[in-house]
Symmetry: C2
Subunit: 220 residues, 2 copies
């Protein structure tokens, strides 16, 4: 009896949709970044601050992936940026087909950057290409400095690592987090990864992240 | 052509192994809890403290699930408790078959409680029964108070919610976290869930969690 490699078939169908997304984004001269992290690393807060701080300078749209609720899309829309919510109803990652439908609802002609905020999950989303120009992994210092070692795939595949909530480190003795260990472990997996320590809450370190983003625009 | 429901077949094979695990644990009069959370919520720190504080009173063994590295098993073994590491090599959850192999390596006759520390992932592990007596979900306050609403499945299925890192709330203005919202949202999903706010780091609130655990023993 012939064996069917189901895993491979699913990935290939996803890759075909990812290619269509990439073509659509290129047609509209949009850059697209797929943000991946554990639940609660601060992705939405980071996006809200980025959109507000770059208002008038960079036109940003957002696709929000969540298992349930449109809490995140409502937070983005409060900034006046367009946001499309995908509710996965239990699924642990966004698929390229879901993103394709969402892209068609965004005003791509009026945008320069589309952020995809993936489902909060440091594991599964790293295996599914969405047609993005790059993945951005967000790690909160509260999660601990062993995460690149323990969850290597997403750190190996990302263009940028945003180490968020660094304001928590300012209170002495509250959190044990060795930033140099995180940098070394991430660079061992991914020599070219750009690493920005930030606090989306206080704004610390965000300027370097904005410079990186604007540099991406120039290449579009 | 006949359709094959692959998803259903995988779950059933897992359930068959889960049943074998449950039988094995019952034979040895062990209680077993499956700990599930996002990466970095503090599961290992919580287990280390629980094992040390209950030394001489409750005999505990641990099965550690990780994608890569045996960092966590080594932390557990430093307490002198037996720990078996399962490395999933990329897989986002533990399967009952993996746990069955690990259970056979633990000295079950000398144990009363087996903790399974699942892969750090708030989504996928909730769908795979391992033969446990109950699931325990751990939420760090740094992850935010919207998690039961956004990731309902694991909160609906757990016997216990441990709200960890509450020492971070003592520093005013650092973290916005409404414990009452978390309690209300979790109880809306799961009327009977036991909720313990704790700090595995400072020990605050741990006594109530230990009382709950000891109460489970009495029922074994």
């Amino acid at each position: 009896m012939a064996k069917v490699n189901v895993g491979k078939k699913i990935l290939s169908a996803n890759e075909a949709h990812a290619l269509k997304n990439s073509e659509l984004l290129t047609q509209h001269r949009n850059r697209c970044f797929n943000m991946i992290s554990s639940p609660g690393s601060g992705k939405t807060t980071l996006l809200v601050r980025t959109i507000c701080d770059l208002a008038g300078a960079v036109k940003i749209g957002v696709i929000e992936g969540d298992i349930q609720t449109d809490i995140d899309a409502r937070r983005i829309r409060a900034t006046n940026a367009p946001a499309i919510q995908i509710i996965t109803e239990g699924a642990c990652h966004l698929s390229a087909a879901q993103v394709h439908q969402a892209l068609q609802k965004l005003p791509l002609d009026n945008l320069e950057i589309v952020f995809i905020e993936n489902v909060g999950n440091l594991v599964c989303p790293s295996s599914f290409e969405l047609g993005e120009d790059g993945k951005i992994v967000v790690l909160s210092v509260a999660e601990g400095d062993d995460k690149p070692a323990k969850y290597p795939a997403i750190f190996a595949k990302s263009k940028v690592l945003l180490v968020n909530k660094i304001d928590l480190l300012a209170v002495g003795g509250l959190i044990d987090f060795d930033l140099e260990r995180v940098k070394a472990d991430a660079r061992r997996l991914n020599k070219g990864i750009a690493i920005f320590p930030i606090s989306a809450r206080t704004g610390e370190g965000m300027a370097a992240w904005y410079d990186w983003l604007k540099g991406q625009l120039a290449k579009a």
